[in-house]
Amino acid sequence: MNQPAANQELPAPQPGQTLLSVRNVSKKYGPNEILGDISVDVRAGEFLCIVGPSGAGKTTLLQCLSGLLAPTSGSVSLRGVEVSEPPAEMAIVFQDYSRSLMPWLSVLDNVALPLRSTKMAKAEIKKKSTAALEEVGLAGHLDKYPWQLSGGMQQRVAIARALAFEPAIVLMDEPFASVDAQTRSDLEDLTLKVKQHLGITIVLVTHDIDEAVYLSDRVLVLGGRPTEVVDLIETHLGEDRDQITTKSTPQFAELRARVYQEIRRQTVPAQS
């Protein structure tokens, strides 16, 4: 079935080039049109956040992007190859960490599981998995089980699993939605650091506007009914970000206000 090819040798994506291309994607569940006509090009090496109100179809869109769900019309392609099954160069961090990790496998084995299906040698698998767990700060917890860890730590295991897979692009579906505020900002900074360190592309779905602006190179604002692209904003916030200083710049406040208004404009009339 699936070609185990997590570490395919492909030319490294050039920064700025289109990596994932979304063309006129729409999705209906029965008669309900959830996604209207969505087009966006994800550039290699960028951090793209997708914001939209709850129920807008963000998860649905992410599933279409990954090939887990077929769009009703339109197409998604990764480096020009149409996505119909999850591609080898893509990893996902699911929202619900308590369901996405296997309770019968240790932390290390959870991370190593995808690599076992590749041609990689055992020693190599262990090295890569350990390195990924070190990257997310879990070096001391390799032999524990997911249920012995806090929510934030479990989500870091899920992130490590995605990193060990060595994808070109990582999709994240509200990855920090169910952890406390402090853990959330820690995980945000961790994600930024890892992304810079490994040079991967990240598409992250959230309904938290602050989070979207803080993390993104570009913010994709969704809204309307059916859901369409409302705006695509370059943040120009630079490489180095800090929870306090970045968030207190006028630029950040401006972006935040802009996204906020755009989302409000979309949702308020819909309620009347």
């Binding site: 079935m1 699936n2 070609q3 185990p4 090819a5 997590a6 990954s66 887990l68 099954e85 999850p86 080898a88 893509m90 990893a91 996902i92 699911f94 619900d96 369901r99 996405s100 296997m102 309770p103 019968w104 496998l105 240790s106 290390l108 084995d109 190593a112 599981l113 995808p114 076992r116 299906s117 055992k122 020693a123 698998i125 262990k126 998995s129 390799l142 032999d143 524990k144 089980y145 249920w147 012995q148 699993r161 897979f165």
Partner: protein, 295 residues
Amino acid sequence: MSTSPNAVAPPRSEVPEAGLGAKGRRISDRPSPVQSSRQHRRTRTVLWQLFAILAVLLIWQMAAVSPLVGDALPGPLQVATAMVGLWGTTSYWTAVLTTVKVWATGLAICTVVGIPLGLLIGISLNATRSTRWVIDFFRTIPTIALLPLVLLLFGPSMNMEITLIVLSAVWPLLIQSMYAVKQVEPVLKWVARVFRVSRRDRIRFLWAPSVTLLVTTGMRLAATIALLMTVSAEYIGGAAGLGKQLAASEQTFNRPEVIAYAITAGILGLGINMVIVFVQHRLLWWHPMIRGARA
């Protein structure tokens, strides 16, 4: 170690556990944050169970000596004497062995047929729908009612017994296995797809651990039903074993022996259940229900 994750025997880890007074031998080598309180609870449970047994014995004794019953019901002491007497005979042990052998053979057939078939039917939504009526129909037929027919076909033989065991005990296994497949966490199935986990590893590290709880529960139900059926078939159908011995004692009005045989069957059932629960706990040490994290 990590490169060969093993769902059954996880690596022993020096987890810094809070409050670990682990003395329990059963799953104490697995990390379990609630070991000491579990240990405590278990001791209390055992005490209550002993108390219940004593209470039953007492009521039994009182009933046996009460004028209402007359001497129709032998008391616990009489039965104990009869039991000890039986333990000295080879016919008793032959009967126990025969019953266990027939039971085990029948259950083995149920396992080999019920589990794979249930899993396969469970995987396919169509198969589940189309077999629903058939399964519901057959499993509600009281198998004991088929005994005369089966007896006519096979005579008072092991084949007769095994036929009846399979007809009655295969259903819980089949049905639990069907449900087990449907209970597999969908997010984990996505994980397996996204991370391109090979089919072999999916079976070993996703499907097998996911279905274990319900499949072993089905085993427990099937084992009990199979034992009931074995003894009944021996008792009514006259095949060799505990049930036949019981019927023979009945014919000679040896009431203490009748009850001693009935108790033997009960002890067998208890032992079988204990073994299955033990295995279940060994396999599912990670499960929230078993590690005691949630009720």
